[in-house]
């Protein structure tokens, strides 16, 4: 029973969050401050999702040359910065991860 309740609740809130602003009538203006703030959503939210994968290890802050995911992530960031190609970024990051794993 509880699992059905959980499932229904999760589906409902997730869809409500996704639909929220899209369902406002078009004549309702998005407030200017919100519009400006939204420019920063991808930079802030996407970073908040991937940064812990690089900077944390086993639930602890791991900013050291011994953290292979941090080093591989730095390689991926450099590749993304230079070439802006998603596939090259992922391949370079995975290759770097295996390389650093052997070296460290």
């Amino acid at each position: 029973m509880s699992i059905w309740l959980t499932l229904a609740g999760m589906a409902l809130v997730t869809y409500a969050l996704r639909a929220s602003f899209l369902l406002l009538p078009p004549q309702v203006e998005t407030p200017p401050l919100l519009r400006r703030a939204l420019r920063y959503v991808p930079a802030a939210v996407l970073t908040a999702i991937w940064a812990p994968e690089l900077l944390l290890a086993g639930g602890e802050i791991a900013i050291s040359p011994g953290n292979e995911r941090l080093l591989a992530g730095a390689v991926a960031i450099a590749v993304a910065w230079r070439w802006r190609l998603t596939f090259a970024t992922i391949l370079a990051g995975l290759a770097a991860l295996h390389l650093f794993h052997r070296l460290i």
């Binding site: 809130v13 899209l22 920063y40 991808p42 930079a43 802030a44 970073t47 940064a51 991926a76 190609l85």
Partner: protein, 221 residues
């Protein structure tokens, strides 16, 4: 729609990897395979599904799991407000579909497309093309993850493709100092707050990063 579908192909590696990991993680925490697949279709939000599976296994009450889902998926509200600038005038049926199909990667791709060609028509078709490819790849990957369970060859370390895909989407939007400030502050905050329960660190870091971007923009004018 073909342009969107084509644009989505490079990110599929990350999506498939994360989908498989999600399927494996959910079943490993003790959810019945069919329930895990059903959740993937009706919720369609990986991070919150993995968190929910772990909480269910530890006997957490439904209300608390739903609350956790709200926090982890709060970013979709921001995507919704952002996509409204482009799709706010589409017919209701399309908006309901666009709402369901929102995903991190699709949002990133759509934003990149509008950044490159702000006035070009066909934005909705681009979104739908990318979103349908991503949705299908995701569901197949979750199904595969559920089926093969924990027997994925771990030494491939494909799970790392998920953050790499997010990196590939973030770096191109870092076009000015305020953008970089938003990303750096978000990274510092999410790490500093990592011990908070319910992954509260993610919405917290998001708000801090957005605030930093706005402040930085103002102080440079």
């Amino acid at each position: 729609m073909l342009a969107g579908a084509r644009a989505a192909l490079p990110v599929l590696a990350g999506i498939v990897a994360f989908g498989v990991i999600t399927g494996v993680a959910m079943v490993a925490s003790g959810i019945a395979p069919l329930m895990a697949m059903l959740m993937s279709i009706v919720v369609f939000a990986g991070a919150s599904m993995v968190a929910a599976a772990q909480l269910l296994a530890s006997g957490t009450p439904a209300l608390l799991i739903v609350l956790t889902t709200v926090f982890i998926n709060l970013r979709f509200m921001m995507y919704s407000a952002s996509l409204r600038l482009h799709f706010g005038r589409e017919p209701l049926g399309w908006r309901l579909l666009i709402a369901y199909l929102q995903a991190d990667n699709v949002y990133g791709l759509t934003l990149m497309r509008y950044a490159e060609r702000p006035e070009a028509p066909g934005g909705r078709d681009f979104f739908l093309g990318a979103a349908l490819v991503v949705w299908l790849a995701w569901q197949l990957a979750v199904a595969a993850g559920i089926l093969i369970g924990a027997s994925v060859p771990a030494w491939w370390r494909l799970e790392f493709a998920a953050p790499l895909a997010f990196i590939a989407m973030t770096v191109p939007v870092l076009r000015d100092r305020a953008m970089v400030a938003a990303a750096v502050v978000a990274a510092v905050c999410v790490v500093a707050a990592h011990a908070l329960p319910f992954k509260l660190s993610i919405p917290l870091a998001a708000f801090a990063g957005i605030g930093a971007g706005l402040l930085f923009e103002r102080s440079w004018r």
